[in-house]
Every structure is written in C-alpha cells, then in structure tokens.
C-alpha cells in the first residue's frame, strides 16, 4: 500500500520546487505545472514500473512522454526527486548551458527525457511509436503520456487518436490534463471542444475519469484502473480534472499564471502555503 502522507509531502515539496524555479529566472510555466503535481508524483512513485538506470531505449520498463512540454518545472522536479539527476541541478532551470531547457529536450542529455516537446500536439504520436516498438520487442510494459486539454486543438492529436484505436495500441495510457484553461483564457472561450470524453469514445478509446486530479488517492485509484484496462484491445484515455495553479491560492482557477513567474512577495506567500517537507534544493 502506498504511503499517502509521503506522497503528499513530496507533492508539497514539488510545488515549492516549481515556484522557486520559475521565480529565480522570472520565466516559465507554473500554472499547469502545479495542477499536475499529484499526477507526476503518483506516476513516478507508484504507477510506473521503472528501471533505476536511465537509457534511451527503455526496454523492460514503463515509459512516459510529456507532450505539453511547457510544464517542464513539474517534470524536472519529479525526475530529480525520483533520482534521475541531482536536485541541485534544478538551480540551473532555463539558464545558459543548462540541461534543464525551457522546454524538455534530449539534446542536452538530461536523464529521464526521451523526446523534445513544447511545440504542441506531437507527443501522442511519439508515445504510439514507442508503444508499438514495445510490442515488436515483446516487451509487456506500458507507455504513458500527458497532454493539455487546450493542446487537443492541434490536429495531429486526432490523427494519432484515430490511429491508436484502429491499430489496437492497447499498451498506451494517454492522460489529458482537463484544467479548462489555455493562454488566452478558458478553453470554452478560446475554442470550445464539446465533450472530450465523447470524442475519445467515438474514436474507439476506453476512457477513465479522474474527477479529483489534485487528490493523490483519487489519482492513484484512477491510474490503477487505467492500468487494469491495458491489453484489452483499446488505447486508454484518462481524463484528469485538475485546477491550474493548485496549492497556491492566488494562482488557482485562472489562466493568468500559465506562463508567468511570481515576484518576491508572491513567492513568499506561495511558499508559506506549502511548508518545506523534504528539503529545498
């Protein structure tokens, strides 16, 4: 049984990492990062079967692909706190000569990253390819991916969504971060997408809802259910309902903090709401 308290403590520390990283360089994307902290912690600490040593091919282990690469702060924090590289390196986020580029990349050789992302809409295709390579290699491990809800406005996703069910890519679990926000406003204001669940189901996917995407226990339960549905002939979509900016009260429920860093005062308020648990980097 997972220790929920430990996972919650880690999530709190990850929130502090995110805030401190974007504050230091006065840039980056805290809103979506904070909303997905519970998801990343659950995935890397409980859900995925990972090898200790990172290698690009990832044979014999589960893989994860981040399609909405702008939420790199949460990705880097959780990768570092899962042992892929030293947490001290979080200090270099977005600095010259850093492996922690603004958007994730393989180019600088950062362990844990298997594809560059940032230009939206490409990650699901990549995850499908990796999932099909696993099948060719008789590797029964799973491939996970994460996508923004606004990101679904990119057409390539729908090519991928159509393909994955047609080709029965049933070792793929793609999660959509349903925070209802994008840069210019709410997704309903910018480009209403109707029922995302209905669309995935119409395209032949099995859909799992996680209504409380910022509740560790709910995320663990939903992802365990998604895992149990793998290997049954259909790709699996997890609709993860989250709150953008979760855990920092003035950042919540707004798109304002999509790509904006807190100032000194705002950082202090945010950190006060999330006490240090595992030690700052």
């Amino acid at each position: 049984m997972p220790n929920i308290k430990e996972l919650e403590d880690l999530t709190t520390q990850v929130r502090r990492d995110i805030l401190r990283m974007v504050h230091k360089v006065n840039s980056g994307h805290p809103g979506g990062s904070l909303g997905c902290a519970e998801f990343f912690v659950s995935l890397y600490k409980e859900i995925m079967d990972r090898n200790d040593h990172f290698d690009m091919d990832g044979k014999g282990e589960d893989l994860f692909f981040l399609s909405n690469g702008h939420i790199s702060p949460v990705y880097y924090s959780v990768l570092a706190r899962s042992g892929y590289f030293s947490v001290d390196e979080l200090n270099t986020f977005r600095l010259l000569d850093s492996r922690l580029q603004g958007h994730p990349t393989t180019h600088e050789g950062l362990p844990g990253i298997r594809i560059a992302s940032g230009s939206l809409g490409q990650g699901m295709s990549v995850a499908i390819g990796a999932a099909q390579a696993k099948k060719l290699n008789n590797d029964n491990h799973l491939v996970y991916s994460l996508h923004g809800d606004g990101e679904l406005q990119e057409g390539q996703n729908w090519e991928a969504i159509m393909y994955a069910s047609a080709k029965k890519v049933d070792n793929l679990i793609s999660t959509i971060d349903l925070n209802g926000q994008q840069i210019d406003g709410s997704t309903d204001d910018v480009l209403p997408m109707g029922s995302i669940k209905g669309k995935f189901e119409a395209f032949g996917w099995t859909v799992v809802d996680i209504e409380e995407g910022n509740n560790i226990e709910a995320v663990l339960k939903g992802m365990a259910e998604a895992k149990s549905l793998a290997g049954k002939g259909k790709p699996i979509c997890v609709l993860l309902k989250t709150v953008m900016g979760n855990g920092i009260d003035f950042m919540m429920h707004t798109h304002a903090w999509h790509g904006k860093a807190p100032n000194d005062e705002q950082l202090a308020i945010g950190l006060a709401q999330n006490a240090e648990t595992l030690g700052d980097y």
Binding site: S125, Q132, A160
Partner: protein, 317 residues
C-alpha cells in the same frame, strides 16, 4: 574522355524499394511506415516479406513522423515513405522537434521529388525540400542519381545513426552506376576528369551532366563531372580540388536555386576560393503540369541547359 552509357532505365524509387527489401532481410531492426502510398514508394516487397515490421499510417503524415520518432525508442530504425512534398513541408515542425532536435534515428524517404513528378502539377512538385531539410541541424541530405545508387544509399543509411533525408524520383532514368557500388555518405564521385570547367550535379541532373560533357567534349571543352549525392554533409574537398584545376563551376539540380545544392557550393566557394559559378536550377518558381521531359526542358534542367551554363561560366573565368 571517359563516357557513360546505359542499357536499362528504371525509376530511382524502385531502387529505394529494392534497398528497403534487402534491409528487411538483413537488418531485423529496420521498420517501415507509409502514409497511403505503398505502390508509389515501391514498398510492397518489404511489406510482403515483413508484414509485422510495416506500419500503414493512413493519410496522416504528421502522425507518421511522430510514430517514427517513437519507434526509435526501443531500437527500431524507421524508414518513412511518402512523396517529397508530404515528407518535408507538410511535416516540417514534426521533423524539426520530434526527429532532428530529438536526435532520432529516422530515415525520411521521399519520392516524386521535383518537376519530374510530372502531370500532377505544382501542388505535388516540391522544389524546396533540399533547402528545408539541409537547414535542420544534424540532418543528412542525400539525393542519389539512378536506380543502383538509390538502392545502395538506402542500404547505407541504415548503418548511419541519425536522421537522414533521402530524396528520389518518379520517372525511369538511365542506370549508369554499378550495381555493386558501396555508398559512402558525404563522399563525392568523380565521373569524368576535365580541365576547363567543373560540373557538380545531383539526382536526375547527373545523367544530364554526363550527356552535356559529351557534347562539350566534341566542342573542345573539357568538363569534370562530379556527382554530389550527399548535399549535407557536403564534400567540400572534392569541389575545391576540382575548381583549383578548372577555375569555374556549374551546379545542376532539380530544385530551386534558392536553398539547393548550388547555394551550398556557393558558400564553400565564397569562404575558400571565390570562383565563377552558374546555377542550373529552377528560378524561384513553382512547377506546373506536363511530361517530365517537357518540364525539364521548359524550366532549363537538362543537358542543353547545362551546356549553355558552361559556356556562360567559361566567359567569366
């Protein structure tokens, strides 16, 4: 003067198909993807022999490039197949981020490049693809000249670890390179020795350059014909060694003069040894419908055009 003849003509895309089929038998990591153009790309033999290693993507080239990138994670060597237009311009950002910047071992195999696609017209006749692809950091760009060279290039790129753009064409063209050749990425091939002018050609224009050199020889002009099958990385040494001797150069390609082989050569000359150069290439234009021969004539991409360019450049020496 060494002259070249041919007994058979074949399309370079069939050279790709034959090379891919051979890879299917010799390299278990090679996989192939196609976006609804199996017959046009001559991929049937590979598919018949290795159905489990073939991925029919449907008409979704962006998805194909992403899936190819993903397949490399797990050790596969993906060869994507579609027309050159849909292999480059249509999917530029997918190639840029998921393949080139990510350093993925994907082979982008592009048929029906240039005007010789023929009657389908300008929507399908890309003349900008070499430029698009050579600008991507780390991308190797190869444009072989006949069936045998295309087959050899297809086999060779499987052993190179990194992204490659392989460009070939639709029409039947003379086969004049050896069937048993070893293809060396980035290594120019000198077809004829000459002393008056260097002709550097790629793709379908290599045969035209050889034809031109025959006619020029009869007119008392000694042309050195060099085949640049790899536009990036460019064999700068071979080009510079030749112009040291001849003092002028004509570049010939089935591509826009902006961004093509000619510009790559001009950069080398400007940096190392400024030399008169003429360009046999399209002049910042789209193509149109017509037979391949009609189009190559109208847009000045044949032996006649090369001879004319040689006479012009000789006057500038």
């Amino acid at each position: 003067m060494k002259t070249y003849t041919y007994t058979d003509k074949k399309d370079t895309r069939s050279g790709f198909g034959a090379g891919l089929a051979e890879l299917g038998r010799t390299n278990p990591n090679v996989v192939a993807l196609c976006a609804d153009l199996i017959g046009s790309l001559k991929m049937n033999e590979f598919i018949d022999e290795n159905p489990e290693r073939f991925f029919q993507i449907g008409i979704a080239e962006a998805n194909m490039m992403g899936i190819a990138a993903g397949l490399t994670i797990g050790g596969k060597i993906p060869f994507t197949g579609t027309f050159a237009n849909f292999s480059t311009g249509r999917v530029y950002d997918q190639i840029r981020q998921s393949i080139a910047y990510s350093g993925k071992n994907v082979k982008i195999c592009a048929s029906h490049a240039g005007l010789t696609l023929g009657e389908d017209g300008a929507t399908h006749q890309i003349l900008e693809d070499i430029g698009l692809m050579k600008m991507l950091p780390g991308m190797v760009v190869i444009n072989p000249c006949d069936y045998n060279q295309t087959k050899a290039a297809t086999i060779a790129i499987a052993d190179y670890d990194g992204p490659v753009y392989l460009r070939f064409g639709r029409p039947s063209v003379p086969i004049f390179t050896p069937a048993d050749q070893k293809f060396e990425i980035g290594k120019a091939i000198k077809f004829t020795e000459g002393s008056d002018v260097t002709i550097v050609a790629t793709g379908h224009l290599v045969w035209e350059a050889l034809e031109a050199s025959k006619a020029l020889h009869e007119a008392g002009i000694s042309a050195e014909v060099i085949n640049i099958h790899t536009i990036k990385p460019l064999d700068e040494e071979a080009i510079l060694a030749s112009i040291e001797k001849t003092g002028c150069i004509v570049t010939a390609e089935e591509h826009n003069h902006l961004g093509g082989l000619g510009e790559s050569v001009a950069r080398v000359l400007a940096q190392h040894r400024p030399t008169p150069q003429e360009f046999v290439a399209t002049n910042d234009t789209f193509g149109e419908s017509g037979t391949p021969a009609q189009l190559m004539d109208k847009y000045g991409l044949n032996s006649d055009a090369i001879q004319k360019a040689v006479k012009t450049v000789l006057k500038r020496k």
